[in-house]
């Protein structure tokens, strides 16, 4: 009996039973059909499922993304992803959405059908009219990539029961079996009538999910749709009806929460140096516009070639240069971090991201390659851009995603896309460079930059970014070329792709990081010093302008001094001629008036004297004796009134300073005097004593200024020479000459000393004195007898 006849008998026998085994009948019927010598047909081995899942989807997070996209296609507004025991092998993952769910027919005809054209024939979702992301009808096999088992539960609103189907991928779908022969039991269970959605319980996870992996999942989830709402604009194809949105929850944390940080990051885009928008219209004309408020740039350019294959699309990018002057106050490290995390030009198709474009390791526009080769000499690594190219299935039919979901098929349309986007982008960033006064190409010989020199840390940063952004394959090639083959270090292929940096590269990056840290420390110190210096200069400017006012005041005071004195002298004369009894009270009043005006004139006289001594800008050796004598003479009346015993001596008498301004030595003496007066007043000592002595010490003139005031508190000996350090706020500053403390007096003294090769120090006072400050400047180098 022939095989064919035998099969027919068995089928016939089975059909005669009360409860025939239909699976057996179907299988035998197939065998019977296949045994026909007139025709042949494809059959599918059960092991094919493994290929659709485990072997086709490279990364587990890509697999998860496919399943989330399916939920979106099913009009879900929320999908909840829950891992259990995910940190070890055999964990469990549940993906539950509130989408439309599937009837048994849909499960059978679509979910259980390979390469179904369901989404192709119905590209728009029925409820929210979403453009469906899936197309090939194989995305669901990602479940097989993730775990060994699957329990599919799906519920349709209006039905009292839900469907549950279990799969044991590794147990049932073994190679050698015909896929048609593997049946999965459908179980119906009671459910609330209104409830709908699909739940995938993936068991016996094939890989562990570390925190790093979960972070990558988050990154993937958040980047499924553009993380930067600002970039969406017209570039996104959005449905015109109300869509409640699509929320993903991962282990209890929602995208909304996660996007809180991204919300901040969205504001980040406002710091971009330039906005670049462009695209290709229906006629194949490509245009680009670059706008930079910071440099006042707003320019448009039309690509000279017609773009014929891509179809119309838009692209939008924000251009960043990680330098302080290009970030308008945004932290450079933060911006750089953002660039490393989210930078790049991505491709979105029907609103969903197409990996790997814009990933850190991707360089589809050849930006990193050409920068490292100095084909591009302006900052234009992938990390310098935050952007996207928006394609749609309808407008751009020539683009197809690979089955692995890892990119578009690199056909001619893709090459044209790459070429035109790069050209438009390049025109834009070169325009920005031009507007910033930067050299744009290496051929610009004799180019004179108008920008400030770069900081060491910025140079190191550029170097760091350049090395880091070098395409991985280049690094691997470099690694292979240079690595000792006996090395125990893990080979790049052993490591997760993003981390697979050759050892030398890692070492170089670490060294650069150290150098950058050191440079930043140095720069910080310099900037602090610069800030302090600016503050000091600012105060000097204020004092300088104040000095002008005082000069005018002093001049006026001096001008009226003689007039007031003349009036007082006349008054004296007139009073002296009055009869006794009338004369006395008037004489007392006149005397009082004379006293207070004298006090005022002390100040006026001093200021006028000071101003006249500053008239000479000539540098000349100053006789210390002459300077002290003049000083004493100028203030003798004031010192007498203040009951201050003033002594001075100069040894040798011919002691002269190095060439300096006479007014500077006067200023030093005045600063010392005013400090002493304040201090002696506060100390309430009597008699008040000041002793000025000058001597020669090697090549230095040492001028010692001593008083018997409060003295200088221990520990403050050095601080008193710092800018803005003052103790005078608590002292009596009622005195017109001594005045209030600015905290700059001794700083100025210190600066004068330093600028003439000396210094100022606090020294031990002589007996009877409490404070001694010594001022040193270089002595006149002329020959001595």
């Amino acid at each position: 009996m022939s095989e064919q006849k035998k099969l027919r008998e068995i089928i016939s026998e089975e059909l005669g039973k009360d409860l025939p085994d239909w699976h057996l009948i179907e299988k035998l019927s197939r065998s019977e059909v296949d045994s026909n010598d007139d025709s042949v047909r494809f059959s599918v081995d059960a092991g094919h499922i493994q290929r659709l899942g485990l072997e086709l989807v490279a990364k587990q997070e890509t697999a998860l993304a496919e399943l989330i996209k399916n939920a979106y296609d099913a009009d879900a507004s929320q999908v909840v992803v829950t891992f259990k025991d995910h940190d070890r092998l055999g964990g469990q993952l549940t993906i539950e959405d509130n989408g439309l769910g599937m009837t048994l027919e849909v499960v059978r005809d679509s979910w259980m059908r390979l390469s179904t054209a369901h989404k192709q024939t119905q590209p728009i979702s029925p409820r929210y009219q979403r453009l469906r992301a899936g197309r090939k009808g194989i995305g669901r096999f990602a479940v097989q990539r993730l775990g060994k088992t699957l329990i599919l539960e799906t519920e349709v609103s209006g039905n009292e029961t839900g469907l549950r189907v279990s799969f044991d991928w590794d147990g049932h779908f073994e190679s050698g079996q015909d896929l048609n022969d593997i049946f999965n039991q459908v179980e119906q269970y009671q459910k609330p009538v209104e409830r709908e959605g699909t739940r995938l319980r993936i068991g016996l996870l094939r890989e562990t999910w570390s925190e790093a992996a979960l972070n990558r999942v988050w990154k993937m989830i958040l980047s499924l749709q553009s993380p930067f709402a600002e970039l969406v604009g017209d570039a996104m194809v959005l449905p015109e009806y109300v869509d409640p949105g699509f929320e993903v929850q991962l282990n209890g944390e929602s995208t909304r929460q996660r996007k809180t940080t991204l919300g901040i990051e969205s504001g980040f885009l406002q710091h971009a140096l330039a906005t670049i928008t462009g695209g290709v219209d229906a006629n194949g004309t490509a245009t680009v516009r670059v706008v930079s408020k910071k440099t006042g740039l707003d320019d448009t350019h039309t690509y000279e070639k017609k773009v014929v294959l891509t179809g119309p699309f838009l692209f939008n990018a924000r251009y960043f240069i990680y330098l302080p002057d290009a970030l308008s106050g945004l932290s450079v490290p933060l911006a750089r971090e953002m660039g490393a995390e989210y930078g790049g030009i991505r491709i979105y198709r029907n609103g969903f991201r197409v990996a790997p474009y814009g990933e850190r390791s991707d360089d589809w526009l050849r930006l990193d390659r050409d920068t490292s080769r100095r084909v591009i000499i302006v900052p234009a690594n992938n990390v310098n851009f935050f952007g996207q190219v928006s394609l749609s299935r309808e407008e751009n039919p020539n683009f197809e995603e690979t089955s692995s979901r890892e990119g578009l098929i690199e056909n001619e349309a893709f090459e044209e896309l790459r070429s035109v986007v790069r050209a438009l982008l390049e025109w834009a960033f070169l325009r920005v460079a031009s507007s910033r006064g930067r050299k744009q190409t290496t051929s610009q010989k004799g180019f004179v930059s108008t920008v400030r020199p770069r900081k060491p840390s910025e140079i190191i940063d550029t170097l760091y970014t350049s090395i880091e952004a070098t395409p991985l394959e280049d690094k691997i090639a470099a690694k292979h070329e240079s690595t000792d083959e006996h090395s125990d270090a893990p080979q790049p292929s052993d490591l997760p792709a993003p981390l697979a940096k050759p050892r030398e590269v890692v070492a170089a990056l670490q060294a650069l990081e150290q150098a950058r840290d050191e440079a930043i420390r140095w720069e910080t110190e310099v900037e602090l010093r610069e800030a302090a210096s600016l503050q000091y200069e600012e105060m000097l400017r204020i004092l300088s302008s104040l000095g002008l006012s005082i000069s005018v005041f002093g001049h006026e005071i001096k001008g009226i001094r003689s007039s007031v004195s003349a009036h007082l002298a006349v008054l004296d004369d007139q009073v002296s001629g009055l009869p006794a009894g009338v004369k006395e009270p008037l004489a007392v009043t006149a005397s009082g008036l004379k006293g207070v005006t004298s006090r005022m004139f002390d100040l006026g006289g001093y200021i006028a004297g000071l101003m006249s001594s500053t008239e000479s800008r000539e540098l000349q050796p100053i006789s210390v004796k002459g300077a002290i004598e003049r000083f004493h003479q100028q203030f003798s009346q004031y010192l007498d009134r203040q009951k201050i015993k003033f002594e001075w001596d100069v040894v040798p008498a011919h002691l002269r300073t190095i060439e300096m301004h006479a007014s500077e030595l006067d200023s030093v003496l005045l600063n010392f005097l005013t400090n002493s007066i304040k201090s002696m007043k506060a100390a309430k000592v009597m008699p008040r004593m000041i002793r000025v002595s000058a001597r020669e010490d090697g090549e230095l003139v040492v001028l010692s200024f001593e008083d018997n005031g409060l003295g200088i508190a221990e520990g403050n000996e050095h601080r008193i020479f710092d800018a803005f350090y003052t103790t005078a706020v608590n002292l009596d500053s009622d005195d017109g000459l001594a005045g209030p403390g600015t905290g700059l007096g001794l700083k100025i003294v210190s600066d004068i000393a330093t600028s003439y090769g000396g210094d100022v120090t606090v020294e031990s006072p002589s007996a009877g004195y409490t404070c001694n400050i010594e001022f040193r400047v270089r002595a006149d180098g002329a020959r001595k007898e």
């Binding site: 001096k558 002298a569 007139q574 004796k625 002459g626 008498a653 011919h654």
Partner: protein, 367 residues
Amino acid sequence: MSYNGFFVDDLDEIYATLLSSVGDGLAIKYRPLDEAASLAGELFNSHPDIVAVDFRLDENPEMIDPNKAYNGSGLAQLLRDKAAASPEYDFPIVLISAEDKLERFYRPDGTAHDLFDRIYKKDEVAESPKPVRAQLISLCKGYEDIKAVWRGGLERLSVFGLYGEELTAIANQELRAALISAGAPHIAASIILKGVIDRPGLLLSDNELSARLGIADLRPIESVLVDRQIQYQGVFSGGWRRWWAHRFDDWARTVFGARPTTMTGSARANVLNENFGANVKAAVSTWNKSSDERFAFSCAVCERPGEIRHSVAAFDPYAPKHSHRKRICWDCVQTGRYVQAKIEVDDVDANLVEDVMTKSRDGDANS
């Protein structure tokens, strides 16, 4: 007798009152500004004994149109022109101005220097009105004396109060010729004031006399000198006390038995104290604090007694032959005081200055 005058200023009326109120003998009226020629005419026609003006007369636009403003020298020139035509009505003109204005405006204006008999700072007038007033009165009287002998040619020399051989001895050709040829009393006054009163030579100031006596203070010996009629009594002596150099030299040779400047200060002080019981103190060198120096002049800068060997010559381009060259002590050179006083060292001693600057001296310099 009381002299009458005017003070012309656009701001400070008080100086007129002040100069009039501190004693008898001078009545100064304040005269506000007017158009220059009118004012000059009015002032001259009122035959004043003296006119005082401020240098800047353009600071009060309420008083005079800024387009018609002028300064003190402009007014003085108009007055001097009138006096040249009518010397019998000539009168002294003095400048009374603020110090800074003198420095900034008057000093650089060399053409104005011969117009004024004296220059006063307002500060100085306000602080010490009496000496200033005395000098103003002396100027009035001096002009009166000069005008009284104006027509007499050689008789003009009589204003010095010397006669006969003594007059012939001191009235050297330079002075004599200048006075005889003077076109107006104010020119003669200027010759006497700037060539005789202000410069050591024929006359000596108190400081010069102290230096020549080698003593710190003239007062203990003043009466002796007055008794010997050494004090100058001639024209302008009321405002500026001076001593006849030739009478002093004669007397000193008698007292010291030699030219006094050949003796140390200590020796001279001893002689004076021994001869007159004057209790004078020997002068102290500004350079080394010693009294055993041969003091010979009063420093042109600090006016203290100085010794030739510790001094340099001062530059004085207008010094007449009968005057003594002014000198600057080394202390004023080394401390830079001479620079502040705007007195130059003569080129003949310029090299010495560099040495002096770094010269060590005995004793400390102290207060």
